[in-house]
Point group: C2
Chain length 743, copies 2
Amino acid sequence: MNQSIKPGDNPDLTDERLSGTFDTNAMAAVIYGSDKLAQRRREISEAVSRIPELKDSKPYPFMTREEKILEGSRKSAVLNRLLPGLIDLESFEETVFIHQEVIGIEGYPLALHESLFIPPIATQGTDEQQEKWLMRAQRREIIGCYAQTELGHGSNLRALETTATFDISTREFILNSPTITSLKWWPGALGKSANWSIVIANLIIKEHNYGPHPFMVQLRDEKSHEPLPGITVGDIGPKMAFNGADNGFLGFKNYRIPRENMLMRHSKVTSDGSYIKPPHAKIGYSSMVKVRSRMAAEQGLFLAHALTIAVRYSAVRRQGFLKDKSREVKVLDYQTQLHRLFPSIARAYAFIFCGFETIRLYDQLLIDVQNGNTSGMADLHALTSGLKSVVTYQTGEGIEQARMACGGHGYSMASYISEIYGVAIGGCTYEGENMVMLLQLARYLVKSIEMIQNGKSRELGPMVAYLAEKESEIDLNLGPNEYLKVFEYAARNQTWRATEKFQKLRNSGMSNEKAWNQASVELTRASRLHTRLYIMSTFINHVGSIVDQKVKGVLIDLLNVHVTYEVMDIGIYVQGLLSSNQMDLIRNQLYVSLETIRPNAVSLVDSFQISDMQLRSQVICAFLAAWDDFQTKHCIMVQRTRFKTYILQQISFNKIKFEESYELRYLAILVAVSLRVPYVNDLCMDPRKFKTRQMLYHFVLGRRDGNVYENLFKWAKSSPLNQTDVLPSVTQYLKPMMDKSKL
Amino acid sequence: MNQSIKPGDNPDLTDERLSGTFDTNAMAAVIYGSDKLAQRRREISEAVSRIPELKDSKPYPFMTREEKILEGSRKSAVLNRLLPGLIDLESFEETVFIHQEVIGIEGYPLALHESLFIPPIATQGTDEQQEKWLMRAQRREIIGCYAQTELGHGSNLRALETTATFDISTREFILNSPTITSLKWWPGALGKSANWSIVIANLIIKEHNYGPHPFMVQLRDEKSHEPLPGITVGDIGPKMAFNGADNGFLGFKNYRIPRENMLMRHSKVTSDGSYIKPPHAKIGYSSMVKVRSRMAAEQGLFLAHALTIAVRYSAVRRQGFLKDKSREVKVLDYQTQLHRLFPSIARAYAFIFCGFETIRLYDQLLIDVQNGNTSGMADLHALTSGLKSVVTYQTGEGIEQARMACGGHGYSMASYISEIYGVAIGGCTYEGENMVMLLQLARYLVKSIEMIQNGKSRELGPMVAYLAEKESEIDLNLGPNEYLKVFEYAARNQTWRATEKFQKLRNSGMSNEKAWNQASVELTRASRLHTRLYIMSTFINHVGSIVDQKVKGVLIDLLNVHVTYEVMDIGIYVQGLLSSNQMDLIRNQLYVSLETIRPNAVSLVDSFQISDMQLRSQVICAFLAAWDDFQTKHCIMVQRTRFKTYILQQISFNKIKFEESYELRYLAILVAVSLRVPYVNDLCMDPRKFKTRQMLYHFVLGRRDGNVYENLFKWAKSSPLNQTDVLPSVTQYLKPMMDKSKL
């Protein structure tokens, strides 16, 4: 039933897989929306695994930023060539998936070219502008980015400072960065890779500021890639994660672009300096909603990554004794471990279900808007704002718990979980800071309450209708829908409470803004509860619609974990509703649910189908990597004999066996590089000849096969510090210090 | 009153400092226990800031691991020389402080030499052994580490696998690593730096296993620093943080050491192979307790680091509008921001107070033990186990909130908060995994309940006496002590509930271990509540003892933030006690307290006295750094003219102004290094000549002076990726891709 079992696996993991009660492929079909989509992911993973050029040159944690960016660029170029044979180019899902599979999660120089550079040209450029730039961008003749955020302003877009002043005499815009805080800051790929950018700048005509508008701006010479005069551009330096991306800064000094470079499908500036307003004010809105609508599923998958690692490792790590004193117990058998991991598995499923539902809602909205119906926009904007906040935060929490559940080895980069955390937690800040987002949803909730107060309950949308309802009797024995009622109670109560606090303050004579600020913590709480209610309700509905009975059965078990855990977690909000006996009942039910799900734990994470490559526990084509390094760093030729001497020295030094021929070759090149021993003829052949000769350096706790310890050792041995026995830190500092002490 | 005000500071920050109501030096005296200790910290910071050799060569986030280890070794060697002139060598506090000030928090190769290598020799070595090794270690003729944890075992020490088998014929121990999981794994400094180690191995005599014992083992040749035959040793690879430390692995293959290398103050093996037991079984216990007893203050200071950055930055970052539309508001004026940061400030103070109190208890315990009274050991062991868990977890939470409160720039390594998080959160795992620790405290709590059940309430220690008490009326208007009663209620209730669950399961016929496991989540909850009660009670007592009325006044305000926030946070546990009206009252009181503390926010973090150097926002003596790099990498000499040409090219290339002479010099050397242009005579002078010529590259959001934006820009410009305009990623991959598309 579990499709991940293979010979040679760690028997502890095989046992877990044999205890699963459902077909993991069928579950994957439920997770990814259809059997076809799930199968395509498997096929793409499989195809990618057969192409050595697409493998990591070496483990990402061993790379510098420069190397990560080089690696991402290399793979982007390779993918650009191979993509047509690997995926359906029309499928956005497949495009996203293959990039993540191949390049991983740490970012790469072309990540935003497709998602943030091309779309504005396509949606905001005129037909002529599209003709001029769209094909060039799509063919990747140019590489672009999207420069909006500035050093001084992220959330408050109205206060952006970059200016584009129209010069009527030359019919040009003059771009300027008038202050240090007006430097564009953060845009991905801006630092070193992009040669064009969409730049958001205040449109100024005859000293009147028409606010932020998009401009198409060339940054670098297309031949030399040098920044053009008037442009200051560079990388913003290392970050918590995403270090494979060159987020950049950008400043302008009287930089002139033709009038035709303002994207003018909606707003226009005529050659005589007249400004023509866009037909709809909120036209730019939908791209934000789109990005946020994708975040829930994306974050759910980050959580799934971390849980795959933690659950598999917990099934092979044995520590301490429970019943049988002859063998240590799997750490997955400790109740504290179940409690750490399983509610997060439920959330990962919930987020993914919810994410795909939101994407569906977004697609529906697009159709509605095209038909002139924009009424759903505010609803979806509010929903995605809240969802983004709750999901990113809970995902971060869950990933860190997963990491800690792996004990010390979770802290090693060999687990890779801290990198997943760094990437995922960025979501709390980018695309709208979470507090700001929660307060946007709160505005919508407060408006809904005001409608009820004004007797317009019947006009409420379906997502907020519960705010007007009365509380009803709860019979927890009737299943998940009763828990939903508990959440409705909590969200309703808190929304009313927060709204009334705001209204009371305002009525006391306080300004609207100040009253809002003083109620804001309560308002964010209302937003969170409302969003968690939505997540739970989507989970329940989704499970209800499943046909495969075995899959449905285990998802009902998982849903029981979810509803009991979530209600316990918001216990403080339901004091008036549930008796202490009822709370005890829920608590006990949670423990029972954790035990029930236990035999399916590994199968539930296997169903995410996250390949060893995506977990960065993949085969590393180290030879190819060393080859690349070698080519990059040394273009010199020397005699074969001198090189051989060095290698032989190194072999005796590191006690390497001759049989391990790939390890030897790798080592040889590393030696060559580190000692600057030049190139040798027999390493000089076409690198493609080595493509099938891969050295296996697996490295992660989450490996499908569960063979953790021996590979942890291999990984460590291959890390940069172990390429020499005595470090410069010793020869330069520690050794002289010790020697001097002996005198 | 606030002692941090200087000319040239960001006026927003100066305004905040002027609004403070107390003397920050007086507060520092309260934080660090005495005016003298606080003053010594200032003096040491000041002295260190005047020594260019002790500055960071470049920002840590720009370094590779090799460079971090090199930097730590360099500074260790310098400190070894300068320490006598800088600190009182007898003072453990000053020693710890100066190392953190100078080397920072990312670890260094000598960190464990003092804390984990020397103490076991001193406490477990015989007089002869001390004579042989102690002085050598103290003088740093040798560098040591402490190797206990193995690849397969951390928490369950009884299952360690390394063996030391006594060979009666040669009177030697033969060390072996019989399995891959028996490799020593994680010990700091083991990988590359240490040449000796204390190794914990199972003592085996005549096939009888006497369990883990400590052995003194030489790992590397003292001349060549090469590993000795029979030893496999190396670095375990990159980690989430602490990448300045070379945590290592270690394996033995029939490695022989003399009988005299077993540390034999307590247990002994005679030359005929007789084993002599130690007089007390728990003798090794106290070092764990000691380390854990220090963790609360240490973690409190990590939290203080992050909060210093976040609070200062929040006072200079302006975003959005509240009342006045003419100027954006400080983000510190948003209620959500207050709510994110201030309860953490209160916790940081509480943890530090609690930490120093625990250290005092530990010192008292040592005296008691020396007088033959070991009765307090179990109490302190239980207390420190719980404290370590709660404090590390809440510290991590608080640091991440501080980072997110800085928005996008918090995510940049220029904030350094993610590094602080990585270091601090390690505390959840090292020195006893948190769940394991909580369950150790739980054992103590369950025993206490059993004493009550057996009518022995009067024998309970003072920390658990409340478990036998009845609940009393709560009058929240009477201040913090009433909130303490609320916590007592919660902790008592939960401890009884968890204990009864355990007992009921056991009485139903379940084995002790299984019953314990099934009650373990409830038991960990009891442990957390008990510990939080202790933290609050220590905070209240500490504030009560303060003499300076202004300091006391603001700490009472902070205490009000603490007690209201903490009680809200455990609301679910006090449902039976507090009415919903009382909860509303507490909630409102919290919001009032947040506003009350607002004018003192910056002064409260300034009082931690964390220097810009400790925040790694220090002056960087880049020239010296470049000099070091240069010396390290290139020992070649070339003509002056050729070098000058390169520099001039680079100047025009990067548009560097000649006036910026330090920047120019730095650049010159970078160019020299990157282009392998050799050494020039005029750079060849004594580096000390440059010591006073420092280039200022500040880099952090938390700078004392609040001048964030311009320094953020400088920091970014100096980062490695900006040393060249066109990266190899472009020339090798992206440019060819674009060019090909144009065809």
